[in-house]
Subunit: 342 residues, 2 copies
């Protein structure tokens, strides 16, 4: 293996018979460098394929042009779509993205954060997935000057930027509309208690009923820790109620809805003729089912973009020493009609 070295500032300086600092300044468009010199230096830099060493730059400037992203898992497509949005913005701005997952425990999650912070990333976008009895490590990271941006979930204790999708509103408005259109008997398949989004979506459902003066039937709220529980939950419901008693089934997410769809097919219940079915998230899968799933769109990619802008803005303000006002950005969710609803 040949070990041909990259050219450095010193190499350039030698080749031109100038001082390193002059070269550095020329490359950085320092005002007090003659444009002639600048041109010459830049030409040579091009020719020698000079690329500044980001490590050295980072060490010097205490700013590494990298940001960290922490996902709970790589299991759902949602994160990948968010990542796409982040990638778009960040690479455009010359940032590299370091990714991590929270593993499967709050300890791993903490470690991932700290690893990123010790890497001196410029900021961290994080989907927190565990409850930490002691979230002070997050504040420590902020204190070290690394901005944190939390996605999808709000922590009252922590002052920071947040990007969340307005799950409540999407569900609330959609269910309200269905009620206006004459639906009365609406089921909700609820997600895990551990997940905050699960709560907002349930709330949206409940509030809509309440506001329209429909009593919430506890039987109609089916709690499923995991999508694998959906079928049995629904089966139980259908042993007590006939399908004629149900107009619409709303779900925690599209995966849940798909499980419901499969069970309904097994029972020869036609969607949407016998009952409407509504997913949540607009996961790509929702276009591959038949009937195609109506769902509530959660703009994953947009959330990534939004988060990136917010984070970069904070980084920028921090560097300039300006003071920064944290923001919580609520992105809209909305009903997306496909084939599984009437």
């Amino acid at each position: 293996m040949k070990k041909s070295r990259k050219s450095t500032l010193t190499d350039l300086a030698k080749a031109m018979g100038m001082n390193v600092s002059t070269v550095s300044r020329a490359l950085n468009d320092h005002p007090k460098i003659s444009s002639k010199t600048k041109a010459k230096v830049k030409a040579l830099a091009e020719k020698m394929d000079y690329k500044p060493n980001p490590l050295a730059q980072g060490l010097k400037k205490q700013d590494t042009k990298t940001i960290g992203v922490i996902f709970p898992t790589f299991d759902t497509n949602f994160f990948f779509r968010v990542l796409k949005g982040i990638e778009k913005v960040m690479h455009d701005k010359g940032y590299q993205i370091i990714i991590s997952t929270a593993g499967n425990s709050s300890i791993h999650e903490k470690e991932a954060c700290q690893a990123l912070s010790s890497y001196h990333v410029g900021g961290i976008i994080i989907f927190l997935s565990y409850d930490h009895d002691d979230p002070s490590f997050l504040i420590d990271i902020q204190d070290e000057g690394i901005p944190l941006l939390f996605m999808d979930r709000i922590y009252e204790e922590i002052d920071a930027n947040y990007v969340v999708s307005d799950d409540f509103k999407g569900m609330f408005e959609t269910v309200s509309d269905f009620i206006d259109k004459g639906c009365k008997n609406i089921v909700h398949i609820k997600g895990s208690e551990e997940v905050s989004t699960s709560f907002s979506r349930l709330q949206g459902y409940q509030e809509a009923l309440r506001e329209k003066g429909i009593e919430v039937n506890p039987d109609f709220i089916i709690k499923c820790e995991h999508e694998s529980e959906v079928k049995s939950g629904l089966r139980k419901l259908l042993s007590k109620y006939s399908i004629e008693d149900i107009d619409l089934i709303t779900c925690f997410n599209d995966y849940y809805a798909f499980q419901a769809l499969e069970l309904l097919k097994e029972k020869n219940i036609s969607v949407p003729d016998d009952v409407s079915l509504l997913g949540f998230a607009n996961d790509p899968l929702s276009t591959y089912t038949s009937p195609k799933l109506s769902t509530i769109n959660q703009p994953a990619e947009h959330m990534g973009v939004q988060a990136s802008y917010l984070l970069l803005d904070e980084i920028d303000k921090n560097r300039k020493g300006e003071n920064y006002q944290y923001q919580t950005s609520m992105v809209n969710t909305f009903y997306l009609k496909r084939e599984s609803t009437k």
Copy 2:
């Protein structure tokens, strides 16, 4: 914002009244440091929450405990699954992962590679998506001592580790089996010429027919640059041939197969009763269609794991100065029967 600085080696040294290098050595378990000193230093490091600065380390050692991964896009699930495999291994070994996409041109792809190399990543896993008339920049990166591992595609000109899935074999064996079971009239919906995997899959199809003495009907090879062309391609075929003339439709990938499935439904052609349909890749979507798609499994996550091990091995051998034998790891693909085939 409080700016409580991270503690550095110097801080530790001062606090202990020792020299920086002693502290450094103690932390790195240098043999010639008394275990008493080590213990004391480590205790304090813990207490002061000392974390080495990877930038400084990288600058010094020319080696950063990071690896880069370059994807063509964030559009298909396949990459996400590969990433999952990579993540698993790499974080286990204490590496951080920096991701990039190739953007939409060979120039961006080149830039992404160079950006990563200038970050002194320990190695790069890359899905090359464009043809470069001048791939010398890749060799340059290798010459700088950064191992490259290519996924999914082999470049004769470049000596390196490769991880590819044996697409030919999977398709060849599957089609052969179908012929043995009595299928004669087999269609292949072929992917873009730009994509090398497209070629291997076509080859597998053709070879199987040839070996079984079935003449390849050119009409039965439908070329589609993109999945959006599948329906029209198939429509054309069905205007010339009746569905009774076709036993099986094989596809470049699952997305193509899904398009085919939709068209067949429109035409009231039943899958698999009237015709069998075969996807490729085992994308998660294939379990959400109805009928569920039979496909050829491409073990994405395993490919990521495999690539990681190979790359880490090369990094390790390089560091130790041992010489390294490049490998090409072919991962198996195999038929996965679901509901769309008989």
